[in-house]
């Protein structure tokens, strides 16, 4: 029975290396260990200089996304055994600049989140008095619930062929988040967000190949959100600005 497995880990330390190298590490192959446990074993017992992000080890903080054998995954939710006999190639998420080792630069993503105005927008003074809640039936909740499940792990950006070629593309997670608010019956900001999204060429380049939805660990289905936007929301918005006297109808 196999007791150990090899990891070929992407290393890049800008102060030491001018280009990335792969470093091989042997780790115990344990049934209950995920890739992240192996990385922590390396960090603690073998090589303290390996850098990567992680926190909750339960698939909800979204920190530990990496490319494993070429596929973006949460390393806390990927058992080593699945990749036996190995070796396992571990790399930083694709389509992002690398800060160091397995750590990617994500400020572009953070800017995009903000850009889609992910908060409830209410028309003028329609704010409720602080004493009561807005009503929302379980079926109204279900309309947007799926899109509220995104943990911002960015696996969808790593998988997105459009984002790879067109870094200006708002991208799957941020568009899904815009839809999460657009579809919330408490929100009245759909038009504002549609104006922002319509200016994004990337949306029209999305071919609905659906790689983003395939890698999503939370079943958010950003491809569905983009598609829904293209055929539904966007169409309505265009109608409102293009047709004569259509505005406000």
């Amino acid at each position: 029975m196999q007791t150990h497995i090899s990891l070929d880990v992407f290393r890049y330390r800008p102060e030491q290396e001018s280009e990335p190298v792969f470093q091989r590490y042997e780790v115990p192959l344990r049934k209950d260990w995920v890739i992240l446990d192996a990385l922590n074993y390396i960090k603690d017992q073998v090589d303290g200089t390996l850098s990567f992000r992680w926190s909750c080890r339960m698939g909800v903080c979204g920190s530990c996304g990496m490319m494993v054998n070429g596929t973006p995954v949460l390393t806390c939710a990927s058992f080593l055994e699945k990749f036996a006999p190995g070796p396992i190639r571990v790399e930083p998420l694709e389509n992002f600049p690398v800060v160091r080792d397995l750590v990617i630069e994500m400020s572009d993503f953070m800017d995009k989140l903000k850009k889609v105005k992910p908060w409830i927008i209410r028309r003028e003074e329609e704010e409720k008095s602080p004493a009561t809640e807005y009503l929302q039936t379980p079926s109204q909740l279900a309309d947007y619930k799926q899109y509220s499940m995104c943990i911002n792990c960015m696996l969808c950006y790593a998988a997105c062929p459009v984002y790879g070629l067109e870094p200006g593309f708002t991208g799957p997670a941020a568009i899904a988040l815009a839809q999460r608010y657009n579809l919330d019956n408490r929100d009245q900001g759909q038009q504002e967000r549609m104006e922002l999204l319509s200016a994004d060429d990337g949306i029209w380049q999305c071919t609905f190949v659906g790689e983003c939805s395939a890698v999503c660990p939370k079943g958010v289905d950003p491809a569905g959100a983009i598609q829904r936007y293209k055929v539904g929301g966007a169409g309505d918005w265009w109608k409102s600005v293009l047709l004569p006297f259509g505005k406000g109808s």
Binding site: E15, D47, V99
Partner: protein, 582 residues
Amino acid sequence: MSSHQHECDVLIIGAGGAGLRAAIAVVEANPKLKIGVISKVYPMRSHTVSAEGGAAAVIKSNDSLDHHSYDTISGGDWMSDQDAVEAFVQEAPKEMIRLEHWGCPWSRQEDGLVAVRPFGGMKNERTWFAADKTGFHMLHTLFQNTLKYEQIERFDEWFVTKLLVDDGRCQGAVAIEMATGKMHSITAGAVILCTGGCGKVFPYTTNANIKTGDGMALAYRANVPLKDMEFVQYHPTGLPFTGILITEATRSEGGHLLNKDGYRYLQDYDLGRPEPKPVLRSMELGPRDRLSQAFVKEQEKGRTLTGPYGSFVHLDIRHLGEKIINAKLPFVRELCLKYENIDPIKEMIPVRPVVHYMMGGIHTDIHGATPLEGLYAAGEVACVSINGANRLGSNSLTELLVFGARAGKSAAELVSGKKSKSTALHALASEEVARIERQFLKKTGGTERIADLRKEMHQTMEAGAGIYRSEATLLKSQGVIQSLQERFHNVSVSDASRTFNTELISVIELSYMLDIAEAIIQSALHRKESRGSHQRNDYPKRDDTTYLAHSLAYRKEKELPEIKYSPVTITRWPPGERVYGR
């Protein structure tokens, strides 16, 4: 080498629920103020994200504020300050509704009103929930809302190494920008610590990797006392290897705890009779401390099971059926399948008590203010105290809203009548930069491995300061922690690079945890009684004559911490017996 300099009015350290709520409160109190928010992780990675079950606030007509107060106070074994609890329960509904207005996807009743569920130790159903990802949704809702305020400037992935204190006031902090390794000083009129708890001091914990007690240690080192540190809450149902929490909601939906004979053992520990349907404040819905203690007793009787990670018992929800499990506990099923390879529809879940929450923390008053002028704290890092000797499930998410908002408001008021900053701050910051260089980055020749010191700390905390303690076990652990403090001087840091040096962060986190471990042990040694989560084998009874008082641990250079006491505030509920299941 000098530090890069920044300035703001209010500096918030920690961007989880409490920190983000505080930031919004500052904006709302005074939109002219400039707010800095530092976090060692991106805000949506904060540990609030992991909270599952819900947040308590009275909203239904069959409930009352007094009931919520009483449940909180009796659950806390009368160590809660009752004025703080009364303010808390009163402001809780308003805070929860605000979060609803901000878009939090609360689970609903058919008529569109917010739904509430029962929870351990709560007499009425008052726990708001967003399926079983309540903390996740609260955190993302808060974070997304902060994005609309230009006044809030974030410093993501910055790690604070020291508070800047001069002239008797806290006036900022020194931090490492992790991406570059550059050190910065951020001066401010007020600082709010919102860094959460310190579960990583212990081996089995639901807490995320980042929960290393940074804010507690920063305050402690600035001579601010840590209050009630002996009260460490174990959650009775964590997964043995990963410490992943299986929410109390599994039990409020009707899950059973079974020993190796398949027997609902809680009936042997004065927690009521087994009924087929869940009964509030009884059996599996008794308080967390009592359930964790029952586990140890079962273990002593040899009635637990044994696996690769020690003893465990079974949590059985199979009888609820696939439909209810998928509808009400989808996250629990997902966690079991993905991380332990168990399907709770078909199999029993192995569980054991795991460290979950610190009732203790930085000593604050009801406004979130610490004894150090200009320093505030809110959330798990703080101890107001509403949680007393044992926190009730679903009070902590509400606490971070209520006291995050209070601390933000207080800090805004303080800086609005602004005093000028001291001139000594930049010199203090430069000293701190030099310390980090000398002690870690330019250090050569250490031989102690970070992971080894951490593991020894874990073992001794579990063995000596766990669910049951005694003078003998505590003294032994105290000795071990002191020797680890010594050995820490000889720690090895192999990574000397500036760019995203996670080993540097880990070693500083370890130093924080050792300080906190020392405070926990010393506070536990001095409290010669048993109350709530603090159970002394050598002093099994509660002693209200001597110990109806909060402990305050003050750090001493090269000496054990000094313990002082301050009285518990009692308003309307004189100490009584904690009764469950009767």
